[in-house]
Symmetry: C2
Subunit: 227 residues, 2 copies
């Protein structure tokens, strides 16, 4: 039985490959979802898999994505078709002395379920505002709000966080007992990767006079030029 | 009729949403595939979509991925099931003055087809070497090569680059004729994002004495600490 702070493991989210890297911890899952800017959303269309990258945001225990009303994604998903969502943050290169032990450090979440079309106007506006605020925190209140034509052309879908798991690899290459420095004199270890933002490029001289936007959590390291 | 340097458009790769962002240009596709470290690979299992992140490499007109022989991905894909692969590089935040015109700059490739198990030992070894060299160019010759047990536990799959398209968004927010600076005095423009590597973390004092690894093309900006 899962603790209240964990998602329940299901046959479909049970990790078979290297289960020690798995987690059903809600805080771990939320942190990965909140840091990532893009998810990969998969569904089945005419018997074949489709996978699309798209922006998304978490609000409580739901994911929201948006798209054009006329899009294929919307038509398939709003019919209640099963969906799989993957969110992956690449944290580093893992360089070993054997080819076999090379790896990457990453944090990843899978969400399985079905999407629902958001029809409540207040929920739809809130989700669209949160999608903007994910790109730049606290940005949406200063903007011109979506008008009726824009709202009508935009569909918002939500997927509940019910069938969810995380997978995380961190740290050094796995111990390579049979390889020593004399036989393979190469550098080994990890090379962290992170996302850097900037320099800011304003669209106009007018725009440039206003305070710079707040950067999202993943991009907390501005480049020297934008400091 | 597609030019020889283009992939042929098919009903499944024809872009319906904002076709101006689409491309079938081989050089554009190759550049995106060669810069990205991770792809998202989707297939259908028991009628439901599955999407997994995995490292990959391009060699000529084929993608290669690898995994444990015992993995579900391998079992499904080696049977010839249809596969969809998406590779996405996030290039920047696009911040407008209207919520509706927010976007992201990105470069993305979709590959559709079926995977084949690589059974030729020479091709398998070459693909595994290229997977390592993608993480750090020219690294594989200095390593301890995969032994028979490691080769036996690892499966390599290949997907040909036949049904392929790219989609790219670049540049400033779309013109917002109805919004002016006085009404919405907020910063607008683009915030480029890029991947930064470092500082290097050697696994041991021995490892630290050897020359630093070459960084992959996506991570050409070392952090100040690793310069």
């Amino acid at each position: 039985m899962a603790a209240p702070h964990d998602y329940a493991e299901t046959p479909r989210t049970k990790l078979h490959r290297i289960p020690a890297r798995g987690s059903y911890d809600r805080a771990t899952v939320h942190a990965i979802l909140d840091e990532a800017l893009v998810c990969h959303l998969a569904f089945v269309h005419d018997g074949a898999p489709v996978v699309l990258p798209t922006t998304f945001v978490r609000d409580g225990e739901a994911l929201y994505v948006h798209g054009a009303v006329a899009s294929r994604m919307l038509k398939v998903l709003a019919s209640g078709a099963p969906v799989a969502v993957n969110v992956t943050l690449v944290d580093g290169l893992v360089l070993a002395r054997t080819a076999f032990h090379h790896s990457m450090n990453y944090r990843s979440v899978v969400v399985l379920g079905a999407a629902t079309l958001v029809t409540d106007p207040a929920e739809k506006r809130r989700a669209l505002g949160r999608l903007v605020d994910k790109l730049s925190p606290r940005r949406s209140p200063g903007l011109r709000e979506p008008n009726d034509a824009e709202l009508g052309a935009t569909a918002v879908l939500t997927v509940p966080l019910v069938e969810v798991s995380a997978k995380v690899r961190a740290g050094m290459p796995k111990a390579e007992g049979d390889v020593d420095d004399a036989a393979h004199p190469v550098w080994a270890g990890i090379v962290p990767l992170h996302v850097e933002a900037g320099p800011f490029e304003p669209e106009s001289a007018d725009a440039a006079r206003h305070p710079l936007p707040v950067l999202p959590a993943l991009a907390t390291r501005p480049t020297p030029a934008s400091r």
